[in-house]
């Protein structure tokens, strides 16, 4: 499903260029469960953004379903992202003025789904993450674990085939963390491809494929 070929990415930070990715090549099949680990600044977040089509490579090629994405227009990439990829962030990135329900509803609104099917889809995913009772709460009324589960619901409401998680348990206590891990692993068992960037050895170990990055390169890739 995902094929990275010799991806390079350099950021200019002040005067010094920072090579975030060096010649990274990686294949990910449908339904895989990957963890990406490594020290800070090793390029793992950049790799995740690259896979999530949020970033463009300086050189190299990224085939998503055999489509070369680096050549696509921004519009097309946005649609590909919206329809196929779900994101989960360490800091949740929920919009404070919106209720849990409305936050989850956002991707559906952006793609102009009819209201009726929208409500049904949101209700379904909120049920899936066990938050049906909290639908009308705003983010400041929810606990950390609940917030991340709302974010997961938002990530999967479009029925994506790929779920990208950037430190999903980083801001959570261990109990909430395990709840979240349990939810995303269940999604993986149902067929979704899961890529998680993490510092959390516990989470990293649970994956079926472990990638370790050092200095913008894939240091090891173990199944």
């Amino acid at each position: 499903m995902i094929k990275l070929i010799s991806i390079n990415k350099t950021y200019q930070i002040g005067d010094t260029p920072l090579r975030a990715l060096r010649d990274v090549s990686l294949n990910i099949d449908s339904g895989e469960y990957l963890s990406v680990m490594g020290p800070s600044g090793s390029g793992k977040s950049t790799l995740l953004n690259m896979i999530g089509l949020l970033d463009r490579p300086d050189s190299g090629s990224y085939l998503f379903d055999n489509v070369a994405t680096e050549a696509l227009k921004e519009e097309r990439r946005a649609r590909l992202r919206g329809e196929n990829i779900g994101f989960i962030f360490q800091s949740f990135h929920l919009i404070n003025r919106l209720t849990a329900f409305e936050n989850v509803e956002l991707p559906l609104i952006l793609t102009e789904q009819p209201i009726k099917s929208r409500r049904q889809a949101v209700a379904e995913v909120l049920d899936m993450v066990g938050l049906s009772a909290r639908a009308s709460h705003k983010p400041n009324q929810l606990s950390g674990g609940q917030l991340q589960r709302v974010a997961i619901a938002r990530a999967i409401v479009m029925r994506p085939r790929l779920l990208l998680a950037d430190e999903p348990t980083g801001n959570l206590d261990s109990a909430s963390g395990s709840e979240v891990i349990e939810v995303i692993e269940r999604l993986n068992r149902d067929g979704i491809t899961l890529v998680a960037v993490t510092h959390d050895q516990n989470l990293g170990d649970r994956a079926t494929r472990h990638i370790r990055m050092v200095d913008g390169q894939i240091d090891s890739d173990q199944r």
Partner: protein
């Protein structure tokens, strides 16, 4: 994104920033309201003049003695000419087809006295047709008798203010007043009516035209006013009037004919221009409101970087982000315009109840123009912020990094 969803999305932002939104609405509202209010002043003045004229009946011609060929073409206002325009001249005009009534006017100032009370007033000498042409009616008694057409009867009609000054609350009808060196009997008192074309009808004295000729020792008419038939061709009648008088004056065309329509048109064009200028000046405030919107939008974009990053991450394209921000400005301008229109109309209603005689009302184009300028200004000044939002790098935006 559907329109309903976009509006509700923007609306939630407004609710979140209540005060800021309120101030922006106020800015747009003040601009729109001031355009509407100020133009309604100009339009009100235009309507006022219009009404004054139509109170005369809309088909009135005025003949003035004298002619001026000078540039600028101001009509000869002095009324003094070598060859008098006479009552006979006036009555000859009655034969022209299409002329319904001819009111000759001798004008002057004179002293009116009852016992020891005396006042100096504008005195008009005319006949019954004057009441027809100027749409005047008496509140008590009767108008000048029919015989005043030719006879120098010693009768007069008083304006209401003049009547009060001379007689107080006592009965004036049938009483004698001294007018200059003559005595005249009061036969009527005009009904209460304010100014008409700059002449305070409450403070005048009306006497028969022949009496006025004798009183002022002059056969010269100050004006002739004519009522013409609604179906008549005004230009044709004006030509005929000139021809008739020229013939009577031994080939000299020494009169000026003004149609009420042309005077009205002149007033209209002056006041319309004035209204447009005022509207343009008031629109500057909408420009200022536009700049304010731009400023706030830029701030909003930098405050909502993470949100923009997130929207991009969940599949929003640059175009959608741009639309979202433009939509926000549009919604703001719409609400501000509505507020401004409501505010303006309620003020207009308020002032109208204070001064019911002044027809305060915005011209038809005022509301569309005000709203149009508001939208133009709002949109133009939102392009930069919206572009900036759309161009944000989602990765950096998500981290909340300022570029």
């Amino acid at each position: 994104m559907k329109l309903v969803d976009q509006i509700s999305f923007n609306w939630q932002i407004f609710q979140r920033h209540g005060l800021r939104t309120f101030l922006l609405l106020a800015a747009v509202g003040i601009g729109v309201a001031s355009v509407i209010l100020l133009t309604s002043l100009g339009e009100g003045a235009r309507r006022y003049v219009d009404r004054e004229f139509s109170a005369l009946g809309n088909r009135v011609l005025i003949v003035l003695p004298g002619r001026s060929e000078t540039t600028g073409g101001a009509p000869p206002i002095y009324g003094s000419v070598p060859r008098d325009l006479t009552l006979e001249d006036a009555y000859t005009l009655e034969k022209i087809p299409g002329v319904l009534a001819v009111a000759p006017i001798v004008a002057g100032t004179t002293t009116v006295a009852v016992d020891s009370r005396s006042r100096e007033v504008i005195t008009l000498g005319s006949n019954q047709s004057f009441f027809t042409v100027r749409k005047l009616a008496v509140g008590a008694g009767q108008i000048l008798p029919a015989r005043t057409r030719e006879d120098a009867m010693a009768v007069c009609v008083l304006g209401v203010k003049l009547k009060r000054e001379l007689f107080g609350n006592a009965r004036a009808l049938g009483e004698w007043v001294r007018v200059g060196d003559r005595r005249m009997r009061v036969v009527g008192v005009l009904e209460e009516r304010g100014e008409s074309l700059g002449l305070d009808m409450r403070d005048i004295l009306l006497i028969p035209v022949r009496t006025a000729e004798q009183l002022f020792n002059s056969p010269s008419l100050f004006r002739i006013m004519l009522d013409i038939a609604p179906s008549a061709d005004s230009d044709l009648i004006q030509t005929k009037i000139k021809a008739v008088i020229t013939e009577r004056h031994e080939g000299e065309e020494d009169i000026t004919v003004i149609s009420q329509d042309s005077m009205l048109a002149a007033f209209n064009s002056i006041l319309t221009t004035l209204t447009l200028v005022i509207a343009a000046i008031a629109s500057i405030s909408l420009l200022v409101a536009g700049i304010l919107i731009m400023n706030i939008s830029l701030i909003s974009v930098s405050q909502r970087r993470k949100e923009i990053g997130l929207l991009k991450a969940i599949g929003a394209s640059s175009r959608q982000i741009r639309q979202l921000f433009l939509g926000e400005s549009l919604l703001l301008v719409s609400l501000g315009s509505v507020a401004g229109i409501l505010f303006a109309y309620s003020l207009i209603a308020f002032f109208s109840s204070l001064w019911p005689s002044f027809p305060l009302m915005p011209p038809l184009w005022a509301v569309p123009a005000a709203v149009g300028v508001a939208f133009f200004s709002g949109l133009t000044f939102s392009i930069v912020p919206a572009k900036r939002a759309a161009g944000l790098d989602p990765v950096l935006a998500l981290r909340g990094v300022q570029e």
